[in-house]
Point group: C2
Amino acid sequence: MKQLLIASTSTLHSGSYLDYLMEDLKIHFKNINEIVFIPYARPGGISHDAYTKKANEAFNTIGITVKGLHQFENPIEAIKNAKGIFTGGGNTFVLVNALYKHNLLNTLTSIINDGIPYLGTSAGSNICGLTMRTTNDMPIVYPPNFKTLGCVPFNINPHYLDPDTNSKHMGETRETRIKEFHKFNTQPVVGLREGSWLEVKGASIQLKGTLNARIFEYEKEPYEVETGIFLNELK
Amino acid sequence: MKQLLIASTSTLHSGSYLDYLMEDLKIHFKNINEIVFIPYARPGGISHDAYTKKANEAFNTIGITVKGLHQFENPIEAIKNAKGIFTGGGNTFVLVNALYKHNLLNTLTSIINDGIPYLGTSAGSNICGLTMRTTNDMPIVYPPNFKTLGCVPFNINPHYLDPDTNSKHMGETRETRIKEFHKFNTQPVVGLREGSWLEVKGASIQLKGTLNARIFEYEKEPYEVETGIFLNELK
């Protein structure tokens, strides 16, 4: 049975790295003492080592050791043997490019389908959707494809942000961008606000955290759903 | 001699479409009564016809007729025969995808080098840089390449936005994103605030409008340049 925790962000404004998720992560990674961390998204361009250290420090507080995927000689084998997976945020283009370079997408999908628990934050959540076409990131590298893991039958927009009605900036709002997405794509998009996450257990997909999420479906007006709701029928 | 006007935005918060640029556009397109409009970026997903109508209405006020590139049977020939070009803003991925699909990049570079006056706003400015890797847009389609016209020897970041120090949102600031770009790319980036533009005349590149611009060079701290400055040495 698939087990994913797909989080909008790793860190809340007032919090520290992953702290708001820790109680749920204890349950999500129950009886697991070592997980594999995918550091490829490199937030701020930090090294794989530095990023892995940060993840390890956070997980140590619940008795879990984190090993960086870059530390293994054979990344495909490392994923196949992992007891749990965490893909951190950063730049989705950089992440997806590295996943394709190391030929990891099929292996990841396969072990996730086999029930290995997965945690994604931000870019690591984006890749759980059908494509990365609703990322907010800058296209600083050119990946071979925008297709991602498809662990859920829709796209994710992490760090979803409501329009700032006081802004004088003429750049597009997030809602405008996702509406443009639907001029060229038909799958739904789940806008996950910071502090929200999706909990996937087999065919069940539940919105968790304290906030509503915003759902964008093709040729429909966007709408809000309340925390606790199941999105099992969204596709 | 190359003649380009590379603008951050088409529209200021308090203004109407292109109005703040009109006095300069009269000079830029002097003695020209018809220009070709490239509507491919489709802001908000509007149709090529609707977008061309909007551009035509604005240019009519200075006695210029706008024809949409989509109205020509042979877009390459239309570009070759154009007396002036305007590429409007919208989604840079959609724009660049269409330019590759119609095999227009070489022809565009060639006529711009021959001195046909060019106006770009937003996405239409982005493509004047070496690559589209510093666009702010959502990757809603997958273009065959991120390489763009290279009319200037650096990248453009239109709609450049200073960090909002009051924000509690944890998404990356524009500055963070461009710094990440420089972990993977070495060319400079010119952050053009809304209301700024670059005027290119042959080898001369001048910052115009009322605002400063922010320059990001590889392995340097970003810095401000004042309006009126020449960026001829930036590469």
